[in-house]
């Protein structure tokens, strides 16, 4: 037990993911208008999460990659987000007995802010549409070759163009009714992660300072310096840049690790949990902080069960696969199969 009080060094990336998803859940558990609870709402989790997604994408896909590998990475990323999200959308349509073709196709963000799914489906829609946008961009051979040859410069150019689009386009086309939940208006947020990663990879004080300035400037321009989004982006971003690892008490590190691993499950399920909670135990127990904490715990547990089931299946399938080949000897018919 005393081990749980020892400190453990944890990757800042892991900690920030956990904080970001906890903020997202917090913002939905304690929305604006319920200030009577004495707790502030706190938007900004999604903004931090989007930058973290871009950071990870640059780290795992864009580094030392060929154009083909980048396109493969974009498709793989889209696929891994699409399948569970589609399952969740279908589930919510089933229980609400409603269907929306645009939502099923993950394009409803272009038409309405209404959604059937009880999770922030707009985020998935924006990410998927950004993947399509980027696939198109990386399908242009000269651009793809130029980008992979100098990913820092490439990231800077794409980020600058995306930021300009975010700042200028809404002046001419009013996208506020859609809450700006459109791929070209969020591309800056995702590609800010690219720029931060490649600057951070340089590890020189100058590069780290530039990364910090990019976070500060873009956050202030898009959200304004007095917003929670700006605060979340800047605090999270600066930690990511300047503090690669942080020491936490073992027990906190464990909880953070679990929540961080469960990020996507929490994202998909937390609002549904809040709805169920409010309609059942919420009648006798308070909402707010307790609902938020229980929601995080329940969704994390759901991830644990899912992950354990998958791992158990893979383990047994792998053992069985290797052992279960029929022993009839080699024949042309078998080898052909």
């Amino acid at each position: 037990m005393s081990n749980l009080l020892h400190s453990k060094s944890v990757d800042t990336d892991v900690v920030l993911r956990a904080i970001a998803i906890a903020l997202v859940a917090w913002n939905h558990a304690i929305p604006s208008g319920t200030k009577s609870l004495g707790l502030p709402d706190f938007a900004g989790g999604m903004t931090l999460l989007m930058m973290m997604s871009g950071y990870s994408f640059a780290r795992f896909v864009l580094t030392d990659a060929t154009p083909v590998e980048v396109r493969h990475g974009l498709m793989l990323f889209a696929k891994r987000i699409l399948l569970p999200s589609l399952a969740a959308v279908l589930f919510f349509m089933l229980i609400k007995r409603k269907v929306s073709l645009t939502e099923l196709l993950f394009v409803s963000n272009w038409f309405t802010t209404y959604r059937i799914a009880i999770f922030p489906v707009w985020y998935v829609q924006v990410i998927l549409q950004m993947m399509v946008l980027l696939l198109g961009l990386f399908a242009i051979p000269p651009f793809a070759r130029w980008f992979v040859a100098q990913p820092l410069r490439g990231s800077l150019v794409v980020f600058a163009a995306a930021l300009a689009t975010r700042m200028i386009l809404p002046v001419f086309i009013d996208t506020k009714p859609l809450l700006h939940h459109l791929p070209h208006l969020y591309l800056w947020n995702f590609t800010l992660g690219w720029l931060v990663y490649f600057l951070h990879d340089r590890r020189t004080p100058g590069a780290l300072t530039l990364a910090s300035l990019a976070i500060l400037a873009s956050g202030a321009m898009v959200w304004g310096p007095l917003s929670y989004q700006f605060l979340a982006l800047v605090v999270g971003g600066l930690l990511l840049v300047w503090k690669t690892r942080m020491k936490l008490p073992m027990i906190v590190a464990r909880v953070v690790g679990l929540v961080s691993q469960a990020t996507f499950t929490i994202f998909l399920l937390h609002r549904f949990f809040f709805v169920v909670y409010t309609g059942t135990v919420g009648r006798i127990l308070p909402a707010g902080l307790l609902m938020w904490a229980l929601g995080l715990a329940a969704c994390t547990l759901a991830w644990v069960v899912g992950a354990a089931t998958l791992r158990a299946y893979h383990k047994l399938a792998a053992a069985g696969m290797a052992a279960a080949v029929p022993g009839a000897g080699l024949s042309p018919a078998r080898t052909a199969g």
Binding site: S9, D11, D13, V14, R17, M52, S53, S56, F57, R59, F60, V61, T63, D64, G73, L76, F77, R80, D201, R202, R203, T204, T244, R254, G257, L258, S260, Q261, T263, F264, V304, V305, A307, A308, T309, R311, A312, Y313, H314, K315, L316, A317, A318, A319, G320, M321, A322, A323, A324, V325, G327, A328, G329, L330, R334, T335, G337
Partner: protein, 575 residues
């Protein structure tokens, strides 16, 4: 002519005091221990553990206490297995198998703690001094046996070709439980040079300041070290006192070798590319710096006292230049054989030559280059596996078993009538080699495909054997039903969930095991996390599992091949 490497008195540890008050170990920002003081401390430790022949498992780190303990054990005449701290369940398995007399634990900031396990002494060969983990087979308790002659001769050879003198001062960059790191320690003690002890990495802020402040003259690196230096943009030319850098532990890309060779020549320091194996204690060859720019892919020439020969498949020595053959090495540093059980510690099975399994060519200028690996070695998940060894292992369960494979799977062809043994065999081989079970395909093949000359046609066997992924797809629904309806499935879910929640320690056998578990078949090539379709969804789980297994993750771990990550824990091979 007497063999001067064979007497412990003439050793790097036998008379440390002969170097007097020269600095031996320097702690950054702290004390300096002279050779005289180190000798006294090591002898005091030798007295503490008692003279004689004991088997000692010792946690060795880059600090004064554990190095003193290590030298004390050698002075006392014991047989030492140096191991990194935090070995966990694997270390416990080793202790259970070999039943050492003493375990010396590494305690931060204080003396090493000696645990007398009270075990009955096992038979130890009089020449045996050191036991190091082998490359490959990471899941199995297997050692390379090294004699005093092996380690002393190699230390002397290194001093010779690196031109080391008592005015050298190396900064530590590798764990001393790793054969490459250990050779740095040995060679510097052999010539009365000093070591600056630190666990900091070349990417840590302050590492190079420490180098400068302590006027260090050299550092050793694996390919990853040099990659990190390049990525950080740090210019080694800023180190006024740098005299040389060495590289081993894997192949550094030729472009990087050329760049470093030209840079070092321009800046007035020397860059050495080296090659070796733990089985050679560990150094086999070195590339003279003046040839590095023109021959960046070469491993160079044998170390002083050693000989390299190339053999063809028929076992004949190859005399012609540029003709590939298996690199074999002969010299006083060739190991005493392997140990896979305590009984093997009493014997001396020194092979006449060391067969490395690497294919090499000799150039007209006398330099050697590695051009590949012998076909009987495969590298699933980057772990070197000897197919002959697997064949031998499988034969214990199913006599007559034949083995082939590639870097994605290992096929064990079994004789008729051994159907019932397949599952147990696969599990045993997976545990033995630290690989996921799905890598092994056990299949009855009767009769075996043969070539016209009657030899087994391994290529046909591999091609013809059912692909495991295709088989899984074909057999999917039936397999799915049988798995989800078995009680074992639900017990396994419970075990996995308890492991994830930290209710019990998750048992990872290797990096390959972790990657296979989280990334599946995409990781079978042994590539890095990024190369294996790893992404932000799997990143957190994999990084936490790796941290649990390795203790600490290096920066940019996601771009390191699995074998290099494995080396950070076991650090068994020292190419």
């Amino acid at each position: 002519m007497p063999d001067t490497h064979n007497t412990p008195e003439r050793s790097f540890y036998g008379d440390l005091a002969r170097h007097g008050d020269a600095p031996a170990l320097i702690v950054s920002g702290g004390a300096t221990l002279s050779y005289r003081a180190l000798d006294a401390a090591a002898r005091a430790f030798a007295e503490q553990v008692g003279l004689g022949r004991k088997l000692v498992f010792l946690e060795l780190e880059n600090d004064v206490a554990s190095i003193t303990a290590y030298l004390g054990c050698l002075i006392a005449g014991h047989v030492v297995h140096p191991v990194a701290t935090g070995g966990g369940a694997k270390f416990d398995r080793l202790v259970a198998t070999y039943r050492p007399n003493l375990v010396v634990r590494h305690l931060t900031g204080s003396d090493a703690a000696v645990e007398d396990l009270g075990n009955t002494s096992v038979g130890l060969h009089p020449d045996l001094r050191l036991l190091l983990s082998t490359s490959g087979s990471t899941g199995s308790p297997k050692f390379v046996k090294l004699s005093h002659r092996n380690i002393q001769s190699n230390a002397d050879a290194i001093v010779d070709y690196l031109r080391l003198g008592s005015d050298e001062r190396a900064i530590t960059t590798l764990k001393p439980s790793y054969s490459y790191g250990l050779s740095v320690l040995h060679s510097h003690l052999a010539c009365g040079a000093a070591l600056l002890l630190t666990d900091a990495s070349v990417t840590d802020r302050g590492f190079w300041d420490m180098f400068r402040e302590n006027r260090c003259t050299s550092f050793a690196g694996v390919p990853y070290t040099f990659e990190m230096i390049r990525k950080s943009g740090f210019d080694l030319g800023q180190l006024d006192t740098l005299r040389y850098a060495t590289q081993a532990g894997g192949r550094l890309p030729a472009d990087d070798v050329r760049r470093l060779a030209l840079q070092s020549a321009a800046q007035g320091w020397r860059f050495y590319v080296m090659y070796g194996q733990t089985e050679a204690a560990p150094r086999i060859a070195w590339l003279p710096p003046e040839h590095a720019a023109e021959r960046p892919g070469a491993i160079g020439v044998p170390v002083p006292g050693g000989t390299i020969m190339l053999y063809d498949d028929a076992g004949t020595v190859i005399a012609a230049d540029e003709t590939p053959g298996e690199l074999t090495y002969a010299g006083p540093n060739v190991m005493m054989g392997y140990a896979e059980s305590p009984d093997a510690l009493a014997g001396d099975e020194t092979p006449p030559v060391l067969r490395t399994g690497d294919l090499a060519v000799r150039h007209a200028d006398g330099l050697f280059s590695i051009v590949g690996r012998k076909a009987r070695f495969v590298k699933p998940f980057g772990i070197r596996v000897n197919l002959d060894e697997v064949e031998q292992d499988a034969g214990e369960t199913a006599p007559g078993a034949v083995c082939t494979g590639d870097d994605t799977r290992i096929v064990v062809a079994l004789p008729a009538g051994t159907d019932g043994q397949k599952a147990e065999l696969v599990q045993r081989l997976a545990a033995r080699y630290g690989l996921p079970p799905h890598i092994f395909v056990a299949q009855v093949v009767d009769p075996l495909p043969r070539l016209a000359n009657g030899k087994i046609d391994y290529r046909a066997l591999l091609t013809a054997t059912t692909d495991p992924v295709a088989h899984a797809a074909a057999d999917g629904p039936a397999n799915f039903r049988s798995i989800v309806t078995s009680p074992r499935f639900y017990r396994t879910i419970w075990d996995e969930a308890a492991g994830i929640l930290g209710l019990h320690t998750q048992s990872w056998d290797s990096v390959a095991h972790i990657y296979g578990g989280f990334l599946g078949a995409a990781a079978a090539s042994g590539g890095s996390f990024a190369d294996s379709d790893g992404d932000s969804m799997s990143y957190v789980s994999v990084s936490l599992a790796l941290e649990e297994y390795l203790g600490q993750l290096p920066e940019a771990w996601e771009h390191l091949p699995q074998a290099e990550l494995e080396a950070l824990r076991e650090q068994p091979a020292a190419f």
